[in-house]
Subunit: 318 residues, 2 copies
């Protein structure tokens, strides 16, 4: 019997958009968004979770539609004043956003697990689907570059992704325990890899011990939605990383990267010509308009992804 629950693996902006689409079309108890926490970091003494917060703010209708990160109707009074006492201001933290970090940091210091804090915040923000961190333990993405090893946000925000990437590792992941939602995928309706950066958003989730194996073994439809359209990342450094890490800078490169983990690949209409090559990898392909400009785009792509999941289930090809 087909399951009803969807687990979506998500990073920041792209992942949050599809997660919002899924939240619009699925009953709340049928969606769990499992989010990368390897780009979390301590800054100004506060524990910051960029991807979790982007997903949370997006699903809560609190996200800044212009930037893709941070909150709407934001002000910057604290950061301006921090600059005046000599503090760092390169990582832009707005006042409302800081409240999340201050209260989360305080609760983490009492020993409360991140997953519990996020569940409570999400409830207070009126978010019905489950948003879960990939694990409660701190994991940190380290980008090995020609300029040395860099903490992810240093590379991503402070250095604008400029140093050439040679490899990526997730410090601390070996001892992390996956969130229960990631321990077994059996009995789900399906697993959806959101259009997030494969190397720094999805790979850390897969690197949490046992998640990759559980996914490989799962007898449920698993699909990925391309984060690359026309050889470009919609947002962020995915295309640059594909090139620097020696992959095809295309949806094909991403499909190859996910080859043994997914049954199907959602390709953008602009890249329809790549379908035969991706099918030759043993993957089923669905061509869809993957650009999500507004909420109806998100809903449409979510519907297409779910339809694809169900087609794969019907075929028994997973």
């Amino acid at each position: 019997m087909m399951g009803r629950k969807i687990v979506a693996l998500a990073g920041g902006v792209g992942g949050a958009k599809l997660a919002l689409g899924l939240a619009q079309v699925l009953p709340a108890d049928e969606l769990t968004v499992a989010v990368n926490t390897a780009d979390d970091f301590e800054h100004l003494g506060l524990y910051i979770c960029p991807d979790l917060d982007t997903v949370m703010y997006t699903l809560g209708g609190l996200a800044n539609p212009e930037t893709g990160w941070g909150r709407r109707d934001e002000t910057w009074n604290v950061l301006d004043a921090i600059g005046k006492v000599g503090g760092e201001t390169w990582f832009r933290l707005g006042d409302k956003d800081l409240a999340t970090h201050i209260e989360r940091t305080r609760r983490l210091r009492t020993g409360e697990p991140l997953s519990s804090i996020i569940a409570d915040f999400a409830k207070r923000f009126g978010i019905a689907p489950a948003i879960v961190p990939m694990c409660d333990e701190p994991v940190r993405t380290v980008v090995k570059t020609d300029d040395g090893d860099l903490a992810f946000q240093d590379w991503f925000v402070r250095l604008h992704c400029e140093p050439v990437v040679r490899s990526v590792r997730f410090a601390g992941v070996e001892t992390a325990k996956p969130h229960p939602a990631l321990r077994s995928f059996d009995g789900l309706r399906g697993v959806i890899f959101c259009p997030s950066n494969p190397f720094v958003s999805v790979a850390p989730i897969l690197a949490v011990p046992d998640v990759r194996v559980a996914l490989q073994r799962a007898k449920v439809p698993r699909i990925a939605v391309t984060p690359i359209v026309g050889g470009q990342a919609i947002k962020g450094p995915a295309a640059k990383m594909l090139a620097e890490l020696g992959h095809d800078v295309s949806a094909l490169g991403v499909a190859k990267y996910y080859q043994r983990l997914v049954d199907g690949f959602v390709l953008d209409v602009q890249d329809a010509a790549l379908a035969p090559e991706i099918e030759r990898l043993g993957l089923r392909v669905k061509v869809a308009d993957t650009m999500m400009h507004d909420d109806s785009d998100k809903k449409r792509l979510a519907e297409a992804a779910l339809e694809f999941v169900d087609e794969i289930a019907a075929d028994g090809r997973h």
Copy 2:
């Protein structure tokens, strides 16, 4: 030969006002304001120094003239948002003020001493006189009340000073080391006890090991400016504490409390009738208008206090 430097002992609002007066009339290198830190506390995971910040904001022209605490032109966006994620909002921290706490907490966690951080902040705020914490070690005022032992800010802010006070102690003070400005008073022009709460603002400074003895031994004029006028505290719970701790609820009660530590006592004009009784304690008395409504009041009281210090020095009665 008479020294040139003044050390002022200060708590929050009243102390900050006189400190500002002194800063207006003394060359910057002739004034050190030594500030109580026993009402510091951790809140929202941040290290908050109410008295130091009140002195710093007041001397930097950044203080909120209405409240006496916090900063002028303040906004409350973070605290509002903290309330929305279930955090505590009873201690009112504005956005600009939070910047001070965030950056101070971050620097303290790197191991930098509080005195060094405050010196840097004061410089950045354009404050010329030295502002120093009584010590770098954390000391915490505990108010023993009929409702049990309470952390100072709990009693003061959250419970509006309502529980009846039986005694006050300063946890951790035994192992604190006084700031160098409080180790010896010899060679100063004088020491001024600002009109701050004797029990919770001045007493903690005196309780730092060796400070009381150094003050008693100092061969320099030491004066106190009354925080009680007409049997009332200008601000805060000093009168209530005088009563509950068994003292006269008057400037006389304060003069008795400081009797062995000061040579002179500045009495408000409203209380001139108390002068003979205070003189019978062996103290010299100066009657002055101690109410500080505006900056010219502060300057005038500072001038009167300095004149008093110099009169005592000229008399050789210290």
